[in-house]
């Protein structure tokens, strides 16, 4: 198929909401959305705790978490594959080649981003808020709700960065999901497969949706940062 006709077929898939196409987009959003949600539930309090706690080895933990932001997806996928494979320590869960495994893989990729950025954002804010919060007896874990709430715009940006990382990755979900049609096929794995097969229409259609998603994420990030700046008094 030549490029112009592939592009027009892609548009048809998007406009007519082709069921297979919609299924792939839906699964991708479900997997990525769930992974970001899980990473938020785990990573926001952990990052906040890391910002406020003082313990031996804290610097080493911060370095490791920050370094894990660049964890190659295929390495994360491989590690999870070993853990989830039938003979692996978590094989009994039967998660391999299911959306659950893909959510776990993307959570592993997004979690360090959420923890590291939350730690930095909250630590900076705490420098400013420390005396005021201490004057209200809000120290330690009691300071966390105030800090997380007042950092909400910056933290949303951190979560969106995680969303961007998860939605664009292909290696981890390919390894632990298996790219099974109608079951574990996401936008990125489908694009890789369809391109390899020469089926450019579906690949281009999915590419369009991915780009639209990326633009949407950027627009939301920009909008939130503007609101945050306004709430912060332009500082």
């Amino acid at each position: 198929m030549d490029s112009p006709s592939a592009f027009s077929s892609a548009l048809t898939l998007v406009i007519t909401a082709d069921p297979a196409f919609v299924g792939i987009v839906g699964l991708s959003l479900l997997v990525t959305g769930s992974a970001v949600l899980l990473a938020a539930v785990i990573g926001l309090p952990l990052g906040c705790w890391l910002a406020l706690a003082r313990f031996r080895g804290r610097s080493a933990v911060i370095i490791v978490v920050t370094a894990l932001m660049g964890l190659p997806p295929v390495v994360a996928g491989l590690a999870l594959f070993v853990l989830l494979s039938r003979s692996g320590p978590l094989g009994a869960l039967g998660l391999l080649f299911t959306p659950g495994a893909m959510i776990a893989a993307q959570t592993v990729l997004v979690l360090p981003i959420v923890i590291a950025l939350t730690r930095q954002i909250v630590e900076d804010l705490h420098q400013e808020y420390r005396d005021y919060l201490a004057s209200l007896d809000l120290t330690g874990w009691r300071a966390m709700p105030t800090l997380l709430w007042d950092a909400r715009f910056a933290l949303t940006t951190a979560l969106l960065a995680g969303f961007g990382r998860a939605s664009a990755e292909v290696g981890a979900v390919l390894i632990v999901g298996g790219n099974i049609a109608g079951h574990t096929r996401t936008m990125t794995t489908a694009i890789a497969l369809e391109t390899a097969k020469g089926e450019l229409a579906l690949a281009l259609g999915l590419g369009l949706v991915l780009i639209t998603l990326t633009l949407g994420v950027t627009a939301v990030t920009y909008g939130l940062s503007r609101i945050g700046a306004r709430m912060a008094g332009g500082r």
Binding site: E128, Y129, D131, Y132, A134, S135, L136, D137, L138, T146, D150, G228, R230, M231, A232, G233, G234, R235
Partner: protein, 237 residues
């Protein structure tokens, strides 16, 4: 057991940082009621003393004794306002609600609205606190502290960054709080402001408390050359 955190007693208080003695052998007593001015030039240790009294720093020597450990019903009954009050990234009303929630005060919404009204901030209730003017922010900070009904207010140069009009408003609020029974200890290097507000003066110079007494007496009969020089407006260093 007394239901007051006063009198406050400060005994032989000292503070060192970076190998420097910033406060030495400060002794004072703060009884209930009245307005006390803590006078001294910049760098004399006024802010430091207020922060120590409020418990934000740990003394290097000596002790600070509040009755009932400064708490009644589990709540800290002394409040502190820094020179530039911190405004949360929230509306003025939400800033008040936050302080009331931290103090576990019941009936927060009604109390927040009443306090905004009392401090002339109702029209600004939903404005982002950080977008308020310096005077409005200081008023909100006073409202936030007053809403928790502290027995003692520790104010660190409450009008240092304000113009005369805003200064007048803040001074009127401080006087009103004192008239309602709040004990006030405020730092300033503005002698005229001390005369307008306070009945008692403490003079801190170079980390030492060099005068403590009725304001008129301290002003008219300084007992030490350093106090005399400060009150005369001489440059001390």
């Amino acid at each position: 057991m007394s239901s007051s955190i006063l009198p406050l007693t400060v005994e032989r208080l000292g503070f060192e940082a970076g190998g420097r003695r910033l406060l030495r052998d400060v002794n004072l007593t703060l009884p209930a009621g009245g307005v006390t001015a803590l006078l001294g030039p910049n760098g004399s240790g006024k802010s430091l003393l207020l922060r120590l009294i409020h418990g934000l720093l740990v003394p290097s020597q000596g002790r600070i004794v509040w009755q009932n450990a400064g708490r009644i019903g589990g709540r800290k009954r002394h409040a502190w306002l820094p020179q530039v009050p911190l405004m949360l990234r929230r509306s003025a009303r939400e800033c008040l609600l936050h302080a009331l929630a931290a103090g576990r005060v019941p009936g927060r919404a009604a109390l927040a609205d009443a306090t905004l009204e009392r401090f002339g901030l109702s029209a600004l209730a939903h404005q982002p606190a950080r977008l308020l003017s310096g005077g409005e922010q200081q008023r909100l900070a006073l409202a936030r502290a007053a809403a928790l009904a502290p027995e003692v207010l520790l104010l660190d140069e409450p009008t240092a960054h304000l113009d005369p009009s805003a200064t007048r408003e803040i001074e009127a609020l401080i006087a009103a709080l004192a008239a309602h029974g709040t004990t006030i200890l405020f730092s300033t290097h503005d002698l005229a402001q001390a005369r307008r507000l306070a009945a008692r003066a403490l003079v801190l110079i170079g980390g030492e408390l060099v005068a403590d007494g009725p304001l008129d007496q301290v002003m008219s009969h300084p007992t030490r050359p350093a106090v005399q020089a400060f009150l005369a407006g001489d440059l001390l260093w």
